[in-house]
């Protein structure tokens, strides 16, 4: 294992997002602040409690992971795509780094950005009284796993993309719709019966529900099933990314 190489890779990824911190950190914090303000002080006051907790506390996990998902995904997809586009991926390809080390480096960058964005949003949430914490280890587990899963999806998109438009395509047409339809801002009970049957096939529902359970103790699915799904997703995506890197798909011409 090239530990110094891996450490440098991770440090480089962290440096990449801190260099443009207004875009990568301040923007999601402002976005979360606006969501918390609207859902807490404007909409929340007109909605009764859900599962015994205030509406803002119920939707806070959704606001949190929406931004963590977006940050982790953007970190890896844009990093890999821009490196391919500007060809400084070659700097990495000629170095004595294994594909596993490269993947770990990208994912650690996604995790770091997800954590920094997440911690900032939790601090904002505490200020607005929106944060509850029911099970800290489970909360940490979900935050880490969500960052890993969406970091891996970002790597797939970063490899696949041939242009800036493709880079945004998956986020716009898959990630955001599935997040919003996965109970990010609502209880499954609020959906029409047909949608309630559909939503259980949406893996994002289990991610959101798991974080919500870890923060509020309210769950609408079986937590063991949710944990299994996210672990299986991370292994499946990790294996796919590793195979593509090993084959050099769109990486080693």
């Amino acid at each position: 294992m090239n530990w110094i190489g891996l450490y440098t890779f991770v440090w480089r990824e962290v440096q990449r997002f801190t260099r443009v911190s207004i875009q990568t950190l301040v923007t999601p914090w402002i976005s979360a602040l606006l969501f918390i303000f609207v859902f807490g002080s404007v909409v929340g006051q007109r909605i009764d409690t859900i599962g015994g907790v205030p509406y803002i506390t119920f939707v806070f996990p959704g606001i949190l992971i929406m931004n963590v998902i977006s940050s982790a995904f953007s970190q890896t997809s844009s990093s890999l795509y821009f490196q391919r586009f500007a060809r400084h991926i070659e700097e990495i390809l000629v170095a004595p780094l294994s594909h596993l080390e490269m993947i770990l480096g990208y994912i650690a960058g996604a995790l770091a950005r997800g954590v920094v964005v997440g911690v900032g949003i939790v601090i904002i949430g505490i200020f607005f009284g929106a944060v509850a914490m029911y099970n800290v280890p489970l909360f940490v587990f979900y935050m880490v796993m969500i960052s890993v899963v969406f970091g891996l999806i970002g790597l797939l998109v970063g490899l696949w993309s041939d242009g800036f438009e493709q880079l945004a395509l998956l986020n716009t047409f898959v990630i955001m719709p599935l997040s919003f339809l996965g109970g990010m801002f609502n209880s499954i009970d609020m959906l029409p019966p047909i949608m309630q049957k559909v939503v259980v096939w949406n893996p994002f529902f289990y991610f959101i529900d798991g974080v919500r359970y870890s923060m509020t103790g309210i769950s609408e699915s079986h937590i063991g099933l949710g944990m299994s799904i996210i672990i299986i997703c991370s292994f499946a995506l990790g294996s796919l990314v590793w195979v593509l890197f090993e084959r050099g798909w769109r990486l080693r011409s």
Binding site: I4, G5, T8, H88, E91, I92, V94, A95, P96, R252
Partner: protein, 247 residues
Amino acid sequence: MSQPALQINNLVKDYGKTRAVDGLSLEVQPGEFFGYLGPNGAGKTSTIHAVTGIARFNEGTIRVFGRDVVKEYRDARRLVGLSPQEFNVDIFATPRLILDIVGGYYGMARAKRKERTEMLLERFDLAQHAEKEFRMLSGGLKRRVMLARALIHDPELLILDEPTAGVDVELRRELWVYLRELNEEGKTILLTSHYLEEVELLCNRIAIIGGGKIAMIGDKKDFMKNGKRLEDTYMEIANRSKEGKVK
């Protein structure tokens, strides 16, 4: 090291249905300054990409000082430094950061790469530009950064893919001095260039490729017999290559 610095056997590289390198074999001995010539599309950069790991290849073997570039890629890559044709760097990074990061990728400890970074910045007259973003540098300074980056991990084999492309005459001559010094210090250098006077001046052995195959290989004097210049021999081979007569 008694093994060849670079040993390529029957290298084949395809891009889809196009064969860029067609069963090429080549040896470069330690300490040589080797010119690797050919017209655009002849397969020079494809060969270099295969040696350095930028591209996979379809058939053949490549060894750097005896290390297989696929099976022993970590050892092989530590022995090679590449200065590519294009500026493939993060244009927002400074020369100091570029050198430090690439040194890190090669597994160099912080103190060692700091020392080597400062030495290379001095050597290539980059010290006063060390904190400027790469995109703000002139073409000549960018070329020097590429050379310094290729040398950060002190490789034994230096591969230079058109290192003087697009630089003015004065700087080209400066770069020649640097390259000569490096070769005299014992670095093996493989140079590709379209400036034949540069190859004539610097290299002691030369290979010309055409259509992905070696058309001629030998000492510099073999290319300059009977009062011919290197350019004359090169043109003969290039024309034969165009007519498909290179075997």
